[in-house]
């Protein structure tokens, strides 16, 4: 069976979850991607990707306590599973391999 590579958005989400640690829920994940990658995140699209990742066993989620700020709605915290971490590493290796040896990218800082 081949390696399981991720789309760019899935990779961003998994990296954002890893960066956020235990506090990784929808708002935090979206803010993390927006501040670090400069990409506007639509929460509905992020949740669709998160559900797909969870179905594939790359992330796991747990429901927290409801808060008044959210109209009594609970947060859903996400964490990356060992399989998800392996996928991130596989994608990283594949991207680095593609990156290397491209003459147009050499010596360009931006």
């Amino acid at each position: 069976m081949g390696r399981e590579l991720l789309t760019d958005f899935e990779l961003m989400i998994l990296l954002a979850i890893l960066r956020a640690g235990d506090e990784a829920y929808g708002v935090v994940i979206a803010r993390e991607i927006e501040t670090t990658a400069g990409r506007t995140v639509l929460l509905g699209a992020a949740y669709a990707a998160l559900e797909r990742l969870e179905r594939n066993g790359l992330v796991a989620s747990s429901v927290g306590e409801p808060t008044a700020l959210r109209g009594g709605r609970a947060k859903r915290f996400f964490r990356v599973t060992p399989r998800g971490l392996r996928s991130v590493k596989d994608t990283q290796r594949a991207l680095i391999a593609l990156w290397s040896g491209v003459p147009q990218l050499k010596g360009d800082e931006r």
Binding site: A30, L43, Y47, A48, T67, G71, R73, K75
Partner: protein, 186 residues
Amino acid sequence: MSEPTVAVALLQVFCRDEALVGDILEEYEFRRSRAWLWRQVGVAVIFSLPYGMVRPARYAPKMQMPIGGLGFVTIVALITIVAPGAWWFVAAGAMGGIALAVALVMSTRHRVMHEPMVRGHVLLPFLVLLIGVGAASRSNAQTLEPAVAVDPVDGIVDAFNTHKVVMLPGGHGSKPAHNLLMKILR
């Protein structure tokens, strides 16, 4: 800032994840931009469409039976007295509604028990609705009675009994029209 009622209602109907609704509201409190909110709501609804609508939790107490029963009896009596022919329309509409409800329940059940629905199934309730509306309009058209020829003099005299204003042609230069007017007067 108060909770945006319409946006929340839309999210609660279409989005199956309460956490997503909470996240959107939490971020809305921070950003306070209606344009941002509606973009988020629109995308959340679109992404939720393959899963069908969410069944609302039964938090509200059930309607009191005497009030509901009285309303039902009143509607039945009104239709029967005022427009008995409309029963076809009501029956066809009810059948369409039941078919739509069954389709929605089946799709929701499918979503809960198995994999998410494919997008094609979203069209099923709309198809059922269209069939219901088509059947209703066809039934309604069938209630119209066919035209029956009557004697012109009797018809015009009846018109005086059923209408406030009745117009008649002048008999100037027309022998048949003059004869008709004379026949009516007699």
